[in-house]
């Protein structure tokens, strides 16, 4: 018998377990999945918790429910991966031997990386919303906050979902309008990048949203420290931004397991071939989702497309065939813009998001890079799709793992850049 071991039972790991259980012959292969945590979170839902749009029960379920029969589910802390002997060491000093390993240990926030961030004001006047705990603490804070300077801030790239902070700012505008206190809140968006939007088509199509919602932009801000006493964030060029409520996306890092195993880069992400998802150091170790160092978004949407290609490559690897260099960085995301509307974007490593229709060329029904109520309904429906289709590995009709160029206005981009 051979062993395929998956580390991490989040979005990527659970999807891989569900794909592979149907593909690997049971008589030859054991599949195991290891994760110390018992809860599976719908992470895109964290964005909605602070605004009381989702209830906590809508974004968490028992992980066990999604691990298919025939897969061994080990709920223990992973101590270390030992690639030399193809072993995974667990907390109780037991070992799991693998023939093929899939690393799906994800990304964590690391607020301790910035001086003053995770100090006495953490979850008092400084919050994150990329964790269940952070999003809930922020919800409680917002319920009776009387207004002031709200600063929405990104510490450094890469982060799990690069557009979530922008969505947070848009939803905050809506939230305070509905509460009748928008005039008491000043919203500032602070980014280390050159703008809230960084790609030419998106900037042209969407910059009006910031003006319409009266959101101020501070760009090229590389935070050095948080002065939590005087409530200011300070960057390396000594630019200061004062806040009353700081909602930050702290540094994102891969799991410390990766560091302990000596398999990561500076940020504990696993160097991985971007088209095949095989790791660069070991040919029987693959990596998926936000655990990798791929130059793509670290969102579940990307992991979803990666899972289909990785499944095929694992089968090829077993047969000794060359791996398919197929992953193109495809991502497809709904972006909330507030007031019951949303945008939809579809892009990959080489193509920036453009206008057009999705998923059917020329028909839609969803429009790309344009605000609409239909896109918002899509985002809301996606929670159901996630729990019932996506992590169970059921293919979503009309949506392919690699990006389709049909029904999209790429000509416009060429005009802009020529």
């Amino acid at each position: 018998m051979k062993n395929l071991v998956i580390l991490g039972a989040g979005t990527s790991g659970t999807m891989m377990a569900n794909h592979l259980v149907h593909k690997l012959p049971k008589e030859n292969w054991n599949i195991s999945i290891i994760d110390q945590y018992r809860t599976h979170y719908y992470q895109p839902g964290f964005l909605f918790l602070p605004f009381d749009i989702y209830k906590p029960s809508q974004v968490k379920k028992k992980g066990e429910k999604f691990i298919p029969k025939g897969v061994r589910y080990i709920q223990k802390r992973i101590e270390r991966i030992v690639p030399e002997t193809n072993q995974v060491l667990l907390e109780d000093e037991t070992e799991v031997v693998y023939d093929i390993l899939i690393i799906a240990t994800g990304t964590k926030i690391a607020p301790e990386e910035i001086e003053g961030m995770k100090g006495p004001e953490w979850y008092q006047s400084i919050f994150d919303f990329y964790t269940f705990e952070g999003a809930l603490a922020l919800r409680d804070k917002l319920r009776d906050w009387e207004g002031g300077k709200l600063v929405v801030h990104i510490t450094e790239m890469p982060i799990k979902c690069p557009v979530a902070p922008l969505e947070f700012a848009f939803l905050a505008d809506s939230y305070f309008k509905h509460k009748g206190m928008r005039d008491k809140v000043e919203i500032t968006y602070v980014t280390p990048l050159g703008g809230a939007f960084t790609k030419p088509k998106a900037t042209e199509a969407l910059h009006y949203l910031l003006e319409e919602k009266n959101i101020k932009e501070v760009t090229d801000f590389n935070i050095e420290r948080v002065d939590y006493e005087s409530k200011r964030i300070i960057d390396y060029a000594d630019v200061e931004v004062p806040y009353d409520l700081l909602v930050t996306v702290p540094t994102n890092m891969g799991d410390s397991l990766i560091e302990r195993s000596g398999l990561g880069d500076d940020l504990n992400f696993v160097p991985t071939h971007k088209a095949t998802l095989q790791t660069k150091q070991h040919e029987n170790i693959f990596a998926i989702g936000d655990a990798t160092n791929l130059p793509a978004s670290k969102a579940g949407s990307v992991a979803h497309f990666e899972a289909e290609i990785l499944t095929e490559n694992i089968l090829r690897y077993i047969k000794g065939e060359p791996l398919k260099e197929e992953f193109d960085g495809h991502a497809n995301c709904f972006i909330e813009t507030g007031n019951g509307k949303a945008l939809l974007i579809d892009f990959n490593y080489t193509h920036e998001p453009v206008e057009g229709t999705f998923p059917l060329p020329g028909i839609g029904p969803l429009k790309l890079l344009k605000e609409s109520r239909a896109n918002h309904m899509g985002k809301m429906a996606f929670r159901w799709i996630y729990w019932n289709m996506l992590i169970k590995g059921i293919h979503i009709p009309f949506v392919s793992a690699t990006m389709s160029e049909k029904g999209k206005n790429f000509e416009k981009v060429k005009e802009v850049s020529s």
Binding site: V163, P192, T198
Partner: protein, 102 residues
């Protein structure tokens, strides 16, 4: 769009970044720097070398990376490329500026 710099025709985007790194050479980097009020020194070129290295390995550029690079500290990075050092250094290096998904 096309642009003539250091007696060479290059292709740049609307923000002045090269769209094809193969067109880059040191003279072009030097001229782009001058357009932004920067006189290149050996120290500047060490930073550009580091940036090219990261770019070729497809590793994202960040201020943290600079801090850990061992090439220079962040204060010096700001003093060499004042006002948005990553933005300016990538432009001079002939590679795209750091971007998000949209």
């Amino acid at each position: 769009m096309k642009k003539i710099i250091a007696n060479t025709e290059i292709e740049v985007n609307e923000e002045g970044y090269l769209t094809d790194f193969n067109q880059w050479n040191k003279a072009i980097g030097e001229s782009l720097a001058q357009e932004h009020g920067i006189d290149m020194t050996d120290r500047h070129w060490e930073v550009i070398d580091y940036i090219h290295d990261k770019y070729q390995n497809e590793e994202p550029l960040s201020i943290r990376g600079i801090k850990k690079s061992g090439v220079l500290d962040i204060k010096e990075f700001y003093s060499l490329f004042p006002g948005g050092p990553l933005k300016k250094a990538t432009l001079i290096a002939g590679i795209p500026k750091p971007k998000s998904c949209i």
